[in-house]
Amino acid sequence: MAYQFDFTFIPDYAGMLGQGVAYTLGLTVFGGVLGIAIGIGGAISRLWKIRPFDGLYQCYVELFRNTPFLVQLFLIFFGLPSLGIKLVEWQAAMLAMVLNLGAYSTEIIRAGLQATPKGQLEAAESLAFTRRETFFYVMLRPALLKVWPALSSQLVISMLGSSVCSQISAEELTFVANFIQSRNFRAFETYFLTTAIYFGLAVMIRQLLGAIGRYAIARRAAS
């Protein structure tokens, strides 16, 4: 007998799936905002070699970029309690997202800052910009606009990667999927639906960030 696909469970679990989506988006937004903040700090200290932060940041970036997110998550959630730092699931998931995105955005933003043409710095100097003005208007803002596409795709990658947070029972979308399939025994249908939702989220975030980037560039061109 051929297998009968059965998607009739969807209405019963729509609310739960919605909560899972909200959790996943929460992790992404929170991780994105704080991660980019960490990244700006890291890029500055790496670029100007501000001791001891540049060395610390370099270690941090290399360690986080060369180990799997899942292992970082396990180390934070299962490992830190033996050092006396106890975090509940959502705190551990958030912390891991922030630290992971922070490491990637440090590298991305640093590349953007490094690409500031020398002539623009000289122009800013000849217009008597203060150091702070030069940094914000000539270096940071154009750098962020330049690397915005790279930051956006990193954010999408991290959103998709956050599915492993289900393993420390943070109740994001994949956790919800695991729960549902343990109830209805429709593993394939449940995971298929969840995968489709992730795909929709990825497309949505990409479009949204792209629109924000275009808006910022248009505004800059107009001003």
Partner: protein
Amino acid sequence: MMTFSLWDILRNLLNGAALTAVLSITAFVLGSLAGLAILFARISKYRAPRAFAKLYIEAFQGTPLLLQLFMLFFGLSLFGLDVPAWLAACLGLMLFTSAFLAEIWRGCVESVPRGQWEASASLALTYGEQMRHVILPQAMRVAIAPTVGFAVQVVKGTAVTSIIGFAELTKTGSMIANATYQPFLVYVLVALGYFALCYPLSWYAQRLERKFHAPRTN
């Protein structure tokens, strides 16, 4: 009760790390071959293979690796196939790798100036000859650095296969952490294991990048 010395922990983790390395290499090699096929479909003259390759790439880049593995694991069993964890892990990572590599390589092929296509066409080279003698050698030069860089993502991706029960480094780590009640020590060692596998690749990718893309001086 069984007790674990530090050596026991290390020995088991090294076994896990060896499996991680084997899985990474298998996935990378098979994924490269499949990726090459997808690449040719993606840059084909015909619409149908192009559309298929585009959909394939978007599907794998737009969904979590974990769910790809789940779908494979549970999807294949719908057909009555009993899929062992290692097979699902290899197959899943191979498909994932092929999609990303095809997209990376497409960028490299497109970075070859149009004039090269036109010049080789005017020398009456066939499509195959153009690819073989003109386009691919130039694209390959550009492709080496990002390909090595992506190998790091493959090694890190293997950690996710622990969730479907493949006993590589992360899974071994979890099991030992549960048996020894020393999660901090064990997960630090696991992280160091991945670092030892990934850092040389990252470092090499960065060096290659510097070699091939001399920084533009403005």
